[in-house]
Symmetry: C2
Subunit: 202 residues, 2 copies
């Protein structure tokens, strides 16, 4: 039997096509003209056959989520100012500034909607969200180690107070998302942490 693992033969995956697909996906998602991103437009804009997309991704949502996750938060540095408030303000400013831009917000809105329908996209979203949360969670953890946050505090909830506000405003669009809001929220969360520390618990 030649059943043993055969070494790979045949043409390999075209990396240029992969990059073109992911890049074009972000571009199309960023158009906030309301027109949803279709597979046909994606394939056409990337100069690629539809089958090339479905050969490597299980669904449209999976492509969009991978494209989004690759970009979002790529350039958010983890600050180290020495204080909780300083770190929070720096991190939130960079994060809100990124998510608040019209085109980026459009990408986020579209992908979150996609994640509600496509199971593959949903799984990608969970992974992406977890990766972003862990960064902020680490920042808060270090503050707790420095004694700036009570040991019993619910860090996961604090993280969600940040990303909750962000996503909620991105999705509904009832309030802006910029430097002022980042500063205000950073202040609110450090106050919250300080209160729990000093007060003792009520």
């Amino acid at each position: 039997m030649s059943d043993r693992r055969r070494p790979h033969t045949g043409r390999r995956r075209n990396e240029a096509a992969r990059r073109a697909i992911l890049d074009v996906a972000v571009d199309l998602l960023a158009r906030d003209d309301g027109a949803p991103v279709t597979i046909d437009s994606l394939a056409a804009a990337a100069g690629v056959g539809k089958q090339t997309i479905y050969r490597w991704w299980p669904s449209k949502g999976a492509v969009l989520l991978e494209a989004m996750a690759e970009r979002a938060g790529a350039d958010i540095a983890v600050p180290d100012t020495g204080t909780l408030h300083g770190d929070l303000e720096a991190f939130l400013t960079a994060t809100f500034r990124g998510a608040g831009r019209r085109l980026t917000a459009s990408v986020l809105r579209n992908t979150m909607a996609e994640a509600q329908r496509d199971p593959h996209a949903r799984e990608h979203m969970r992974t992406f969200v977890e990766s972003r949360r862990s960064v902020l969670s680490g920042l808060l953890g270090r503050a707790r180690d420095r004694g700036e946050i009570a040991v019993g505090a619910d860090l996961a909830l604090m993280v969600d107070q940040v990303y909750g506000v962000l996503w909620y405003r991105v999705l509904v669009g009832h309030e802006p998302l910029g430097d002022a809001q980042a500063a205000e929220l950073a202040r609110a969360l450090s106050d919250q942490a300080a209160a729990r520390l000093g007060g003792g618990g009520r």
Copy 2:
């Protein structure tokens, strides 16, 4: 000219059909089997022709949003315990308890996704969100009048910390949403308010 406003003639709108459509819409949205609600299934389940739906609503999303908004938050009482923390805990417990139920969460997820695609649904969502926010905003405003929240505090941001956490967890599903989380967030927000009051600003 018989150009003057002619009194209405002809058969009137069937109220029973309207109710059946809205009721069935919520039922279908509540199925969290991932299957999206289709117009055909909605019409069939309501025992109604498709045209009857499109005669009264501009799009599928508009129906779904109206059905959701009619239900969500209908039984959330506005508490009056006399303290910010008491009011918050009561309100958040009721709210999180409602949104955290599997079926209700499914409705919220589906409608928020719909609101990202359908402009009519989006408008309904804005209105709905505003109505819910105003209730909580009123609660906070009364606390501020009592001197429990600083005059300069950003009430809108506090409101969004609540609904942000709620929607974020409903949409992503990475953390639960129940009494414990409501209590923790109520505590966090009252601490936040108290810190701003006493501390003065840092």
